[in-house]
Every structure is written in C-alpha cells, then in structure tokens.
C-alpha cells in the first residue's frame, strides 16, 4: 500500500478554505487530565514500532562476525559503522551507488512526472468543460480501486512485446499515473483557483498554458507538494514492478538490489554479506524518513485540514 500519499493529499486539498471555523484542538473544551497509565500503554505500541528501526541502527555498527556473537539490541565491542558504509558503497565496484542513482532517476522522472500529469489533468478537469469529462473522471476514480499488482503481470507481458522490459521506461511509465493525485488536484483546484483570475488573464491576452505556469501553479502549490511527497514515497519504495520488469542488475533500484544481496546468503555458492544488507537498508530508509520528519508540519496539517469536506 503506497498510499498515505494520497490520503494526505486529499486531506490537504479538500480542507484549507473550508475548514477553519470548525476545527477543534483535541477535546480541549473538556480539559481531561493527562494520564500516566494511558501514556505507558501507548508507549508499548511506540516501542513495537521503533524496536526494529533501533535494531537496524545498532546492527549497522557491527562486523559480520559481531552480528553473530553479540546481543541484538546492544553494541558490539567493535564499532565499524563507517567501515560498513564504505564497504556498502564500494562493494562490487559500487553497484549500490548505481542502484541509488537508478532509484533517484525513477523517483525524479516517475514521481515528478506523475505529479505534473496529475496537476495538468486535475486542473483541466476542474476548470474547463469539454466532451467526455465526466466519463474520464468516473473511469479514473474507478481505477483507484484497481490493485496495482493485478495489473503488473499483464503490464509486463505487454511491455515485453513492446521491447520495453529491462529498460528504465518499464519502471517510469507505470509510475507516471496517480489516479488519486489527479483526484486530489481536481478537488483542490475547484476551490483554490478562482475562475475570475483566469478570466482576467484571458482578457489580458495571456494564453492558457502561460496562465497555467505563471498563476495557476502557484495557487495549487500546497496540493502539488503533497501529491509529490506521496508519489515520491511510492516510487522510492517500489518493489514488485522493478522485480518483474528488470533482469539486468545495472537497472535495479535499491529495493530490488538489497533483496538480491540478501538472497546471496543462501544457495550453493552462498556469500553472505549480512552487514552490508543491514547497512544498505539503513542508507535506503534514511532519505525517506528524513523527508517525512522534515515535512511533518506540512503533511500533518494537510491531513487534518483535509478530511473535513465530508
């Protein structure tokens, strides 16, 4: 499930203009007392959520031998984190760096393209009237309910006939469509792009596309950023699609590459590199976790503003 992405986006889009008066701060009017017992109970859930991540951080500082000889949730005598990072980045002529580059390519072109297409189309559907508009909208919304994996195998078969498999296009093209992103921008544009402004721009003789890139895009910015954040997560974490589309490791994204490293620990010519798998996993999640924490204020306010429009 890729989707918070879009849950949040929605939230964002629909909220904003209509919310303000109705929002409340917790149940503050009732002023309940803080409860230590309650907090402790929730702490159990937080520990459950965090322990694997803590485990990952701690074990990225160990040698392969140290992994076996030391307790999982504490440090070993040797602290080799930086050496592990160095080895991860240079193993097999730096294939990890290549995978990182691939992932960035898929994220920038895939998620960026998805956001652009969704923004253009969402705006077009919201602010123009044309034949078949409703039908388009109905079909795209229906597509939200179609599970991505159900389409993966047929898409692979189709792409292989077109000669697209084993190229970056096989990953990028399917990433370009975010039905939910489209829905979000559509809802957002209805509220936040006043038709009067568009009329005024037309009076002044500005072309539609110039108006879009100079005025509309700014008005839609909060919605666009939310869509972007979540399409980035979806492409960064994508596994199934590249797994079936790619057989050449030089095009792998990080997720598929890491799993290949992990798989080489078993089999006939087993060559375990557990310490590199662990360090590589840590390096893979750092950017995305930083993005979520850094943009926290943004997506959380979007989320609560969002679900208002019932």
């Amino acid at each position: 499930m890729t989707t918070l992405t879009e849950a949040m986006t929605t939230a964002d889009a629909s909220g904003r203009s209509r919310t303000s008066g109705r929002r409340r701060r917790g149940a503050s009017s009732l002023k309940p007392r803080k409860s230590v017992a309650f907090t402790a109970l929730m702490a159990l859930l937080a520990i459950y959520a965090l322990v694997p991540l803590v485990w990952l951080v701690i074990n990225s500082t160990k040698t392969q031998a140290g992994l076996f000889s030391s307790f999982g949730l504490w440090f070993d005598d040797d602290f080799v984190f930086f050496q592990n990072v160095y080895e991860t980045l240079t193993y097999r002529d730096g294939i990890f760096v290549r995978w990182l580059g691939n992932t960035l390519l898929y994220v920038v072109v895939g998620a960026g393209g998805a956001t652009l297409l969704a923004t253009l189309a969402g705006y077009g559907l919201a602010k123009f009237r044309f034949f078949g508009r409703r039908a388009i909208f109905a079909v795209v919304l229906g597509a939200i309910a179609v599970p991505g994996t159900a389409l993966a195998v047929p898409t692979f078969l189709m792409f292989s006939q077109m000669g697209l498999t084993n190229t970056p296009w096989a990953i990028i093209i399917p990433s370009l469509i975010s039905p939910f992103g489209l829905y979000l921008i559509w809802v957002y544009a209805v509220d936040s792009v006043p038709t009067e402004i568009l009329e005024a721009a037309r009076m002044d003789g500005a072309g539609e596309f110039r108006t879009f890139f100079t005025i509309t895009i700014r008005l839609l910015a909060p919605g666009i950023v939310t869509v972007l954040l979540f399409t980035v997560v979806a492409t960064w974490n994508n596994y199934f699609l590249p797994l079936i589309m790619l057989s050449d490791p030089t095009w792998y994204p990080l997720t598929v590459g890491l799993n290949q490293w992990s798989a080489q620990a078993s089999g006939v010519a087993a060559q375990p590199i557990y310490n590199l798998v662990i360090t590589g996993s840590l390096l893979t999640i750092i950017p995305i976790v930083v993005a979520f924490l850094g943009l926290q204020r943004f997506w959380q306010s979007g989320l609560s503003a969002g679900s208002v429009k019932q």
Binding site: R22, A27, G124, K127, I144, V153, I177, W236, N259
Partner: protein, 324 residues
Amino acid sequence: MTMTSAPPPTPARAAPTGHATQAAPGVARTRRRRGGHRNEWKGLAFTAPFLVVFLLVFIAPVVYSLYLSLFREQLVGGNAFVGLDNYAELAVDPQFWDGFWRVVLFLLVQVPIMLGLALVAALAIDSARLHASGFFRIAIFLPYAVPAVVAVLMWGFIYGDQFGLVANLNDWLGSTVLAPFSREVILVSIGNIVTWEFVGYNMLIFYSALRVIPTDLYEAAELDGAGPLRVITGIKLPALRGAIVIATIFSIIGSFQLFNEPNILRTLAPNIITTFFTPNMYAYNLSFSGQQYNQAATVAIVMGVITAVIAYVVQLRGSRKEER
C-alpha cells in the same frame, strides 16, 4: 502488500465520487456561460497527457489480460482460443485454492487486529490524555515510510535463529519455543510484519477523521453529563464510520494482493513458503518460472473481480448503516 499504483484511501470520506460530481456542475455551468465552446480543446489538451499514459498502463493491461485468459498456448496449433477453459481449470486448481484460502484466513485475523490497534491508538491520541502525543503519532507512523523490502529484511533478521532477537530470546529462555519460520507460525510472522508496516498509517486516517468532529458536539455531550466512554460510542465511533469503511476496503485489497512479504521471506524459509503461497505469488511464479502467461492472466482477472466484489459489498454495507 505491494501496490505500485496504489489505491489511496480517502480519509473520512466513503464516497469520493459523490462530491466530485456534486462539485462539478457548478463549475461547469459558469464555464459554459462565459467561455463556452472555445475551451473544449483546451481542457482536453490539459487532460490528454494523463489520459494517454493512463490508457497505456491501466486500460490496455486489463484488456490484454482478458484476452490472454481466453487463449492458450498449445503444443499442436500454437495460440488457440479456448473460451472459458482457463477459468474452468482454475476453479479446480488445488494450488490456487490453497493460496486463496490462506489469504482469506490472513484477512480475517490480521486486518481486525491491525485496524483495532490503529483505532485504539487514534482514540488515545485524540483523547488529549496522553503525555507527548505528538511523539506517539510520528513514532507509530514511521514504519509506513520504510520500504516493504527493508521491513521484511529487518524482521527476517530479527526472526532468524542465527543472530536475531528471537535467537537471543530463545537462548534466554533456554528453549526453542519461538520458531517464526515454522509451518504453523509463518503466517503469524508475516501478519506481524504487515501490521507493523501499516498500523500507523491506519491510525493517521482514523485520527484525521476524529480531528474534524465539531467541538459543539462535545460541549453538548458535556452538558448532558456524558462520560468519556459514552462520548466514544455516541460521537466518535459514528463519526469514524466512513474512515473505517475506507481502511477496511484497502486492507482487504492489500491482503488479497499479499506478495512482497512472503516472497522476500521465501529466501529464509524456502520449504515452508511455497510458490503458490498466495494467489499473487502463484500468478507471479506461473509467468516467470513456468511461462504459463495465460493461466497467470486468468488468476489476475479472477482475483481482481473477487477483490472488486468484496470491496463493493463492504462499501455498500458501510453506507447502508450510515443511513439508518
């Protein structure tokens, strides 16, 4: 659970289509009055790039797999139309049903646990009775940002009997009572990973629905002398109904599509996780190990239809209750 082009849940909104169409007429009317015909091609020009790609990656694969499911590669005569033969064969295919009932079991146990935890967490954070509730919100949500592959690798190591936490626990207990990779427990081990990944995500969906309950409702309840439990059952849970329906639908889709977790764990437990452990793994292995593309397409279509029907029924039941 992989959904590359995943269906995003709309928080607290059971029927997005509803207001989509409601909002539309107003806009449409204005445009018609002023710009009229002149805008026809312009609106289409904005929408066209999306539509072209959409046709290629959504509509075409569906049509293509329908086509594939009606044909078969035969030793004599090559690719031949076989009508519904592939479907008839699948209906009596024990491997398919083995995987199918496994995901149904998974769905019936894991989804209620995950959504229950998420609901309790959301109510707790919303209750304003927690210290550091902001920390809890972000901490519980954080696993969602972790790619499924990394989540499974991590948990796989933790489960492992070589240097995992489970091995540490077993040493400490002096037994091998915990065996995450045994035949009886493997589904629980997978369920735990999926729960870990998505509990915070569902919590945020519920939480965001709770946040928009108008304050006056609470004030009225206070005046009536309602206690906190009564507020939960009388105000909060009814307000959450839409969000719960949405979260349930997406969890059902996720369970039926179960693939990443068992497929990655297979490296660690190859004898217990079969190639037909879930329908999705079955379809994957049919195409990529067996080259049986027609059968794989049939599995994809059948699972797609079953998922759609169940999602529709849940949605219907959810909204019917709302009207009562």
